[in-house]
């Protein structure tokens, strides 16, 4: 058994399937997770952009919030996040962040209202802390129910809808950022039309003991192949999406990170979430630094930690960088001083001690293709 200092690695309900499929398994957020299958990351990335890919994201944390009599779970959650949760209609989903008193991000999460409760999806590395945070602040208003053993499958790509609709016809007409209880192969699952690749797709929350069966049903569809965390990272980077612990963390605010769009107008005005005064000030006056896209000249790859400089003066740091398979070139994102953050600004990325010319560029690097009906 693989062990870390923190003890044995946990396994998702799909562990046996990963083994069967020849996955290369690596430790990730305390779990033994597939980084790639035998076809490799480039082929898996291309598969997801062209057809459909199935990801095991069961390591992520799922939590259900149910209001106590006379209380509102949405209103209660708004005390912890800047997103407009009370405004969610049944079946609507929203992206938001847990913030701290200085406006930094404790985690980013997805929230879906089913009408009578809220379903949260949290990052694996943060889920225990998030749960404690929720229990501490919301227990008087809500029942906070961790569902960490449930399966979570992400089916992503332009052919995801036709593949899933064969097993569950109602999903065909679901729109981006909506969710519904859907029966797949006789098993009730909660399906949202969302994901983290920038493309169309679904996340499917399953009972733990049904995850393997449903994954195999999906993999039996001609459009679908298994995809590991390696391609998940290159897909989300091309889509310009933040990775928690890298592009966002407790030292970055949602405004610096370019996530203002995720904060509803009323909440910007009214505040009432941790760090609101810092965030409201940044909304009004601008943040001291901004997350930007970076396109290096040539083929060298500037990875996380590389310095961003202008005429030899350091103006920021790369937070994610890699090869974008869809574009066949290197891309990166990082933070620079706001005065230097305009698209088209020429910068240098310091790669292994050498400055590589680069330009600040708009994100996403690959156009989003969400299904908006």
């Amino acid at each position: 058994m693989t062990e870390t200092a923190a003890g044995p690695l946990k396994r998702t309900p799909l562990h046996a399937l990963h083994r069967e499929l020849g996955a290369r398994l690596v430790p990730f957020a305390g779990y033994e997770m597939p980084v790639q299958y035998p076809t490799g990351i480039l082929a898996e990335h291309a598969q997801t952009r062209a057809a459909a890919g199935l990801f095991d994201v069961s390591h992520m944390g799922q939590v259900r919030l149910t209001a106590r009599p006379g209380r509102s779970a949405a209103k209660a959650l708004e005390a912890l996040v800047p997103g407009d949760i009370a405004g969610l209609q049944p079946g609507q989903q929203r992206y938001t962040q847990f913030t701290n008193e200085t406006g930094g991000i404790l985690d980013d999460l997805m929230v879906t209202s089913t009408g009578d409760h809220l379903l949260l999806v949290l990052n694996a590395a943060c889920k225990d802390a998030d749960l404690a945070h929720l229990q501490k602040h919301l227990s008087s208003a809500c029942e906070v129910e961790p569902m960490f053993s449930r399966g979570l499958l992400a089916l992503q790509g332009p052919q995801a809808a036709q593949a899933l609709a064969r097993l569950a016809p109602p999903v065909a007409t679901m729109k981006f950022m909506t969710g519904a209880y859907v029966v797949i192969d006789g098993i009730e699952c909660y399906v949202t039309r969302s994901g983290y690749t920038g493309g169309d797709g679904f996340e499917i929350s399953t009972p733990a003991d049904a995850a393997d069966t449903i994954a195999r049903k999906l993999l039996a569809q001609p459009e679908v192949k298994p995809i590991g965390l390696g391609a998940r990272d290159s897909l989300r980077l091309e889509a310009g999406l933040c990775l928690y612990g890298h592009d966002i963390d407790t030292t970055t605010t949602p405004i610096e990170a370019g996530l203002l769009w995720s904060i509803g107008k009323e909440r910007r005005a009214q505040g009432g979430f941790p760090g609101a005064t810092v965030i409201q000030k940044q909304i009004a006056e601008g943040a001291p630094r901004r997350r930007v896209g970076l396109l290096p000249d040539g083929k060298a790859i500037a990875r996380e930690g590389a310095e961003i400089a202008i005429a030899g003066k350091v103006v920021g740091k790369v937070t994610s960088g890699g090869f974008a398979p869809t574009l066949g070139r290197a891309v990166a994102m990082g933070y620079v001083e706001r005065a230097r953050s305009a698209n088209g600004t020429k910068v240098e990325l310091v790669v292994r001690g050498k400055p590589v010319p680069a330009e600040i560029a708009a994100m996403p690097f690959v156009k989003h293709a969400y299904y908006r009906g």
Partner: protein
């Protein structure tokens, strides 16, 4: 002609006083898809153990060290357009650079094929 191996998973194939250097099949499997290779300039003099080239996979960058000392006499320019050669033919088209060896006795400290195979097996 002989082929020798390092415990950093480089191979060197020696013909006369010129050694061709690349990475082993085991190394390319561990790296995964190679997307960029930085090769050294011709004429550069390198010491045994010096970082001479860089191979970038989708996930990470790895240094390639000179298995022996010498002067770079040729670099594989084709890798700029087809870095995947490192995955497809690590001991063929996927070579990185050629060195004119300055001290052939350094080869004695490297592994032969049987020793390298045993070394890879020991890694599990």
């Amino acid at each position: 002609m002989s082929v020798k191996y390092t415990n950093e998973h480089e191979w060197v194939r020696v013909e006369g006083d010129v050694g061709t250097i690349g990475i082993t099949n085991y190394a390319q499997e561990q790296l995964g898809d190679v997307v960029f290779v930085e090769v050294p300039a011709v004429g550069r003099k390198v010491a045994k153990g010096e970082s001479v080239a860089v191979v970038e996979s989708v996930k990470a960058a790895s240094d390639i060290y000179a298995p022996v000392s010498g002067e770079v006499v040729e670099a594989n320019a084709a890798l700029a357009d087809s870095p995947g050669d490192v995955n497809a033919e690590p001991t063929g088209k996927g070579w990185f650079f050629k060195l004119r060896l300055s001290d052939k006795t350094e080869l004695d400290g490297l592994m032969d094929e049987a020793a390298y195979d045993a070394f890879v097996k020991s890694l599990g």
